[in-house]
């Protein structure tokens, strides 16, 4: 038996005429928090839905908690908490009725925690869900996802549309869930700062493919921007195999390389006519942008 909680093996999901995700392979072990990044339409939601058992892969295998048929096994699904991008719940139910409805479905449902979350999130417990704002509905969905103490927590842009205070509440509840037994968290978001706060691994999706899956710190430390100035009249003669993205503007030659090591600077200098060269660090947001732009340039090695 594998020690992976989440395993994707060459998973593709096709909708009628479009490709949701294309041959994605990765695995997550206990204790991981994965931040899923990428532009709109990259396949993040499809990936998360496949992880939550909401859609079946067209090809490939998804194994959650070592079970490939997790989507039809209630006892496995009881260990997964899912927060969709736009949660609707039952619009005519109140938050308290949602709790009463969901509680018998989970063996590990914790009523005390549910009440605590209602109070922490400042949820209007006796108002129908349809009268609540999107942010409050997300909180209600997170309440359902957390109150049964899931082993795997999957969240699709839960921070979108939330005010900074609500975002803070949300992040602290996710951190708390991790400290209280949730073994693996997968979160997609455009809020890079929050991802950096929460995640220890990041995956970047673009055009339905996973172009990067790496340890967050390792990615931050190993991806560097190299700025070189070419000798007047010269063109780049030798490009690095590790180039993720590059841009040439007259004599200024910028590139993002991953993984970086000092020998790459020597390699560039040796094989090109350069007047100067400098190396700088990049933030995750910039790395993500470069990876995506590079993937579109098709010069990526990733």
């Amino acid at each position: 038996m594998s020690d992976m909680l989440v395993e994707f093996e060459s998973v593709s999901v096709c909708y009628k005429e479009t490709l949701g995700i294309d041959r994605i392979t990765f695995g997550l072990t206990s204790g991981t928090t994965l931040g899923l990044l990428g532009p709109n339409g990259a396949g993040k939601s499809t990936c998360l839905k496949a992880m939550a058992g909401l859609i079946r892969p067209t090809s490939g295998h998804v194994r959650i908690l070592n079970d490939e048929n997790f989507g039809v096994r209630p006892h496995v699904r009881q260990q997964i908490g899912y927060v969709p991008e736009d949660p609707w719940l039952y619009p005519w139910m109140t938050a308290r009725q949602i709790v009463r409805f969901a509680a018998p479905m989970y063996e590990r449902w914790d009523n005390e925690l549910a009440e605590e979350l209602i109070s922490d999130f400042d949820l209007p417990a006796d108002r129908p869900i349809r009268t609540l704002s999107k942010g409050t509905r997300v909180k209600a969905a997170l309440l359902v996802a957390l109150a049964h103490r899931p082993r795997l927590l999957v969240m699709d842009e839960p921070l979108a549309g939330l005010d900074p205070l609500a975002r803070d509440d949300m992040v602290s509840q996710i951190v708390r869930a991790k400290s209280e037994g949730t073994e693996c968290v997968v979160i997609s978001s455009h809020q890079i700062d929050e991802i950096v706060r929460l995640a220890d691994q990041v995956a970047i999706l673009n055009r339905s493919r996973m172009v990067v899956h790496a340890d967050l710190n390792e990615l931050q430390n190993s991806a560097k921007r190299i700025e070189a100035v070419l000798v007047d009249g010269c063109l780049p003669k030798h490009e690095l195999r590790q180039t993720v993205w590059r841009h040439i503007n007259r004599r200024e030659w910028s590139m993002t390389v991953y993984p970086f090591n000092e020998s790459l600077v020597d390699e560039l200098q040796r094989n090109n006519s350069l007047t100067s060269i400098s190396v700088s660090d990049l933030g995750i947001e910039q790395i993500m942008k470069d990876v995506i732009r590079g993937d579109q340039q098709s010069c990526s090695v990733l």
Partner: protein, 230 residues
């Protein structure tokens, strides 16, 4: 878990169930009103009046029950797609089998109640009322059977539409219109083959309706269990 699903399915079906309850009360009332304006019947003994009221009510409830069941069947699944609560249900632990079993239980239990009430009324009529004339003929039984078959057709097509479509309104409309197709088909077959006997035509209609309704239930269930979307 199953009980929570049943409770939820009863709640999402409250309008069709309310309609069914209303028809359960209104049908005997309408029969009573119709009887009160029938001067011939009013001159009969109390026992005979009671017999007519109970038999008439049973028949009326049986007919209106088919309407209620068709609406309930067409509403049960599609209503959760309209407000997108099906998406929420999809990521809770119950799998599709359980979700469908809960809905089928609500439909089956309602059908059983709506079938038992007219049966009970008929039984009461036979026990306590006084039959005014000869025993009800086999033709009466055939009529009831044909009405039931039409009901199965409407409910089956409603179920299929509910499993397939995202609008409960369209599913209900299809359910209500569904018996028209077998009826027209049978009419055309009778005209083409020169069948003039009403009993034969009725039996043919019952068979076609029953087959259509059963196909609706089977295909709808198969589609629901196989579809990718909630």
């Amino acid at each position: 878990m199953f009980r929570a699903l049943i409770r939820k399915d009863l709640q999402i079906s409250r309008l069709p169930l309310l309609l069914a309850s209303c028809l359960l009360v209104v049908s005997p009332l309408a029969i009573a009103i119709l009887m009160s304006i029938d001067s011939v019947l009013m001159k009969q003994t109390m026992e005979r009046q009671l017999f007519a009221l109970l038999i008439g009510s049973g028949f009326a409830i049986h007919v209106t029950a088919q309407l209620s069941l068709a609406i309930l069947s067409a509403n049960l699944i599609a209503v959760e797609r309209v407000d997108r609560s099906a998406d929420f249900l999809a990521y809770l632990p119950p799998n599709r089998d359980m979700v469908l079993r809960s809905k089928a239980t609500v439909l089956g239990a309602t059908a059983l109640i709506l079938l038992l009430v007219p049966l009970a009324l008929t039984g009461s009529a036979l026990c306590w009322g006084e039959r005014p004339g000869p025993a009800p003929s086999i033709e009466m039984f055939h009529i009831l059977l044909t009405i039931s078959a039409i009901g199965v057709c409407a409910a089956g097509i409603g179920w299929w539409a509910s499993c397939t479509l995202s609008s409960n309104a369209v599913a209900i409309l299809l359910a209500l219109l569904a018996p028209a197709l077998p009826s027209i088909s049978v009419l055309l077959i009778c005209l083409a083959l020169g069948i003039e006997d009403a009993a034969h035509a009725g039996a043919l209609l019952a068979a076609v309706c029953l087959a259509t309704g059963t196909a609706g239930f089977v295909l709808g269930t198969r589609h629901y269990l196989r579809r990718n979307e909630p």
